[in-house]
């Protein structure tokens, strides 16, 4: 079971990063909205992963993104911030002992919990990405607009992916 989970996650990482770098990098609405769907990988990592491993995976994923996007540090910080929000959100909303699902996916957790969880984490991630990319505050409202619209865009694509691949249990 455990090795299977590891393989699934490696395959998911490769697939999401590939799609993100070679397909989604070219997609955007008038420079306002750019989807960063690769964040889904960090969203649905297994529950029982130690915090250090989670941060290391987030860091490495961010590093790969930065290498391909030429934005050294931006995605690293964003992924690490997202991992932190993930830990906080899970520890607030769920009881550690009562978790019997392997990973926090839509099929396992239901729409209500997963929707809020994804929205919060994606928002934190995008907040870091767009503000670090701009690296100044005098375009504040514009950057905030980009964050919000991109969050919605990413959120919908994430839901789409989740509905497509993880609908086994909730059906």
């Amino acid at each position: 079971m455990n090795t299977k989970l590891i393989f699934i996650n490696i395959a998911r990482w490769l697939l999401l990063l590939f799609v993100q770098i070679f397909l989604l990098r070219n997609i955007g609405f008038y420079n306002l909205s750019t989807p960063f769907v690769y964040a889904l990988f960090i969203l649905i990592l297994p529950f029982n992963l130690p915090n250090l491993a989670l941060y290391l995976l987030a860091f490495f994923t961010g590093l790969t993104m930065d290498a391909f996007y030429d934005t050294m540090g931006v995605h690293i910080s964003a992924c690490v911030l997202m991992a932190f929000s993930r830990i906080i959100f899970i520890s607030i909303s769920l009881n550690r002992d009562s978790i019997d699902e392997p990973e926090p996916s839509l099929g396992n957790m239901g729409f209500k919990w997963f929707g809020l969880y994804a929205l919060v984490c994606i928002f934190m991630h995008h907040l870091a990405v767009f503000f670090l990319e701009a690296f100044k505050l005098n375009e504040f409202s514009y950057t905030l607009g980009r964050v919000l619209i991109s969050t919605i865009f990413t959120f919908f694509v994430v839901l789409l992916v989740e509905f497509t691949f993880h609908n086994r249990k909730s059906a």
């Binding site: 955007g28 915090n51 987030a58 030429d70």
Partner: protein, 279 residues
């Protein structure tokens, strides 16, 4: 000591977050300050090769458009050639001006990665130091218009900081009366077909449709057409006005670029470096 360890262990999520986030921010700041001095980016061999592979497929889809632009350019060059032979004046004066004839040397490079969606955009091309690309070389579009400057080079690839970047500033003039200004992109306008010309004095009369060309400073040869003025009333409230320019080139379909090798660049830079107030 033991209590401290228990404390750290209990809130390990937060402490790990601080550590990793600091590393990320440090990389971010370093990169902003020293202009891509970190080695992991698309000039890197692995990343560069991956982009090049994919671009083979992408370029195939754009073949028609590339052909069109190449034939248009051919036609332009042929026209120039024909006109050059048909001199109708009898007395011709031969000027052997070897310095100016040889100042600029153009060579083409393929775009293997291009971005237009970001706040700061970069273009990766398939020529590097082995082919003679140097940092800060000027880059122009094969049809009309400017692209940017070389920001970083590796043996086989280089990264161009395109005009669509907050760091890029190109010296331009109004073609009709040679008023100097600087071409920038951004400032709440993130349309890739529009840019701004700043620092034009208020007394200059500017009309819609006036052509903007490069000034000859900063690596670009004088007189490369950049765009047409599309809006004149962008007020800034001081003694200078800002003009909106519709760019001639389209960054979204860029497949080839020309790099400009300026033989006299070092000499010019050396001379200008002596002045304390210039850059």
């Amino acid at each position: 000591m033991r209590n401290l360890w228990i404390f750290i262990n209990r809130y390990n999520a937060f402490f790990f977050f601080v550590i990793f986030f600091t590393i990320g921010l440090a990389l971010c700041v370093k990169n902003n300050a020293y202009q891509r001095s970190v080695a992991i980016n698309s000039t890197n061999a692995v990343v560069g090769t991956a982009y090049e592979r994919l671009n083979v497929i992408k370029r195939y889809l754009y073949l028609g458009r590339i052909n069109d632009s190449l034939s248009a350019e051919n036609a332009q060059l042929k026209t120039a050639l024909l006109n050059a032979r048909n001199t109708d004046s009898l007395a011709t004066i031969k000027v052997t001006d070897s310095v100016y004839q040889e100042q600029y040397n153009l060579f083409a490079a393929k775009v293997i990665k291009n971005s237009i969606n970001l706040r700061n955009n970069f273009i990766t091309i398939n020529k590097g130091t082995l082919e003679g690309v140097r940092k800060d070389m000027a880059v122009i579009s094969p049809t009309k218009g400017v692209i940017g400057f070389v920001a970083d080079v590796s043996p086989h690839f280089s990264i161009i900081r395109s005009l669509l970047n907050k760091e890029t500033l190109i010296s331009v003039v109004l073609k009709k009366n040679n008023t100097f200004g600087s071409l920038v992109w951004g400032d709440k306008n993130f349309d890739i077909r529009r840019a701004f010309v700043k620092e034009i004095p208020n007394h200059v009369v500017v009309r819609m449709g006036d052509t903007i060309v490069t000034s000859g400073a900063g690596g670009f040869p004088k007189g490369i057409e950049v765009g047409k003025i599309s809006k004149t009333g962008v007020s800034t409230g001081d003694n200078f006005m800002t003009l909106e320019v519709a760019l001639f080139n389209d960054f979204s379909t860029l497949q080839y670029v020309y790099l400009i090798k300026d033989r006299l660049a070092d000499e010019q830079k050396q001379l200008e470096a002596a002045l304390p107030n210039e850059h």
